[in-house]
Symmetry: C2
Subunit: 354 residues, 2 copies
């Protein structure tokens, strides 16, 4: 394991993007967001993805000089054309559009097409928090690992949802979840760590449990609800995909490119980010105080035997973020080695260890 | 079992509301929506609830002459004050507001407070379909049967989501799901039919499986994801409740009234209905054709052994609705008896059997 500081990680990531032609300002923006994923504990969506992102840029599948723009808009909505830029840039742009619209219209819903993988959903749902707003984020995942309920063909992805709700003195509530039992990023992390997956994450194409993450490409993720109520997870994946993908003219269903096994095709990734101004519904400070009261009721409520603490969605990530900013983050040996190799390939300085 | 026609059921329900002081037009509106629940197969949310609704009206807990109005609005949002009217009336009003706003702003999000239980979520998510729009609906459930993840205190409800997406030649996709493994209405239906519940729907307060629906008030519903990933269902219930309840100044958490065991308290039920105009994001007809293509890809895809057909969310309800309109619906013996008793109590004609 290697300990690295947040700043060292940001510098390294930004230098990698700069080395493949991304402008300095945009490289910094991407680095800030990707490292935030690691700091919050979303390892499967952070710097771990860097070699893959760089590989796809070098293969010409991602535009390093995108002209991101609003293609169509109304008072409460916008369709953003990402011009095949890095998803982080496209969705930061979209979130800013959504927030600006919500300031006037009460709500702003910005859909994006011609985007790319953007990392953890929470990053974009949290952007409206800085304006005192509620944020929502939906996306079409960048590889289909999920079959329709009762089916075998992988026509759906883990299409995630994130919802961020501001509180007053408490940390915001930040739900970030894939519509499968486990996100595919967790499968990849388990594979890299040489760990087995729990029962219930995946099945093989005969419907049998699959626990070896190295065999993940032979299997299907189970939708949220598992064998008992997986038709609900299937339904959520489908409708979030329709809202984030089909509605925006982005890829969905069989048009989704498996970006884990294809470095050259344009993904036309679709996402949506929504900002809601609480002041449009009542007194915003009263709302935030009511969120605090709810959090405290839940945290202070009776626990099942053996449970030490009841957590709010996002609360552990919030604490991890503060710790990691202060103490740095631990990278696994294989991950650190892959970043060193990337540095050699790109001719940039290796990541500084703390 | 008794077979009744849709029209006989509507007439009976409307006459029951008229008998307790609801105006004729509003009684017809409520009856139309409540019977639609039965026709679509949502028995737990249809005429089955009529005796309870009437009991609460007679106890003074629901206002039969509400002045439903917009309290606050912006271009894309509205807060509707339901004036403690029947939820069906409040949410039909809110859906109309959302649709009107979406026609101009691209999106309309109407939140409601001081409302009441409104039946199945799908009814309101489907209203924007008639204007060619996508509909979303969220609500705070009217009884807390769910504990926070790791907790024992029932501070959360089954807070449902519904999403309706128009297609072109195919029926619309209509997802309607509680954020628990099973909706509480299904528990009530099982109890009335004298059936046991499957393992995994509920646990008792020691964490043991609970399968007798007559003991439901001793137990907790399991959040979607069950023992494996129930923190996700907990998170969804929480954030949908924040959006449908807390944001609108409606009940959430410990302020939720258990309307199954309390006939007299005002519930201050919160909901939200959202309309999205596909034309704000691109060509609406192309969008609908793309939805058709996705439906056909999914329906025609390979199936697991033993699976006869892959269903879209809402497709079975759509077929049931057409059949029930033509053939009528079957009511269980206990349900028919409870409606006959209600007729006697109210001094109205009994429900006509087909």
């Amino acid at each position: 394991m290697s300990l690295v500081s947040a700043q060292a990680l940001r510098d390294f990531v930004a230098s990698a993007y700069a080395a493949v032609g991304v402008s300095g300002l945009e490289a910094d923006t991407i680095a800030e967001l990707q490292v935030k994923a690691d700091l919050r504990g979303s390892e499967g969506h952070g710097v771990f993805r860097l070699p893959q992102y760089i590989r796809r840029i070098k293969a010409g599948a991602v535009n390093v000089k995108p002209r991101i723009r609003i293609e169509r808009e109304r008072a409460g909505t916008a369709l953003v054309d990402g011009d095949n830029g890095m998803g982080h840039l496209v969705m930061k742009f979209a979130a800013e559009v959504a927030i600006a619209k919500a300031k006037v219209a009460g709500i702003g819903w910005a859909g994006a097409k011609m985007s790319n993988h953007a990392g953890p959903a929470a990053l974009y749902a949290m952007m409206p928090l800085e304006a005192g707003m509620i944020g929502l984020y939906l996306a079409v995942g960048n590889a289909n690992h999920l079959a329709p309920w009762g089916g075998l063909d992988m026509l759906l992805s883990t299409n995630p949802i994130a919802v961020a709700v501001p509180a007053l003195d408490e940390p915001p509530i930040v739900l970030d979840m894939a519509t499968t039992v486990a996100a595919y990023g967790k499968v990849k992390t388990a594979a890299q760590r040489g760990e087995q997956m729990p029962l219930g994450w995946m099945i093989d194409r005969e419907g049998r449990p699959l626990t070896d993450p190295k065999r993940a490409n032979e299997g299907l993720l189970l939708p949220l609800g598992g064998m008992e109520a997986g038709f609900k997870g299937y339904g959520l994946s489908l409708v979030f995909g329709l809202l984030a993908g089909t509605l925006n003219g982005a890829a969905m269903g069989r048009n989704v490119i498996d970006f884990n096994n294809d470095d050259t095709s344009v993904t036309n990734t679709g996402h949506a980010v929504v900002a809601i101004d609480p002041e449009a519904f009542g007194d915003a400070m009263q709302f935030r105080a009511n969120v605090d009261a709810l959090i405290r009721d839940i945290r202070g409520s009776k626990r099942l035997p053996g449970v030490e603490r009841i957590w709010m969605p996002g609360e552990q990530s919030h604490l991890r973020y503060a710790e990691a900013l202060r103490d740095g983050v631990m990278l696994s040996g294989p991950l650190a080695a892959s970043l060193d190799k990337l540095a050699d390939d790109l001719g940039i300085a290796k990541l500084r260890r703390a």
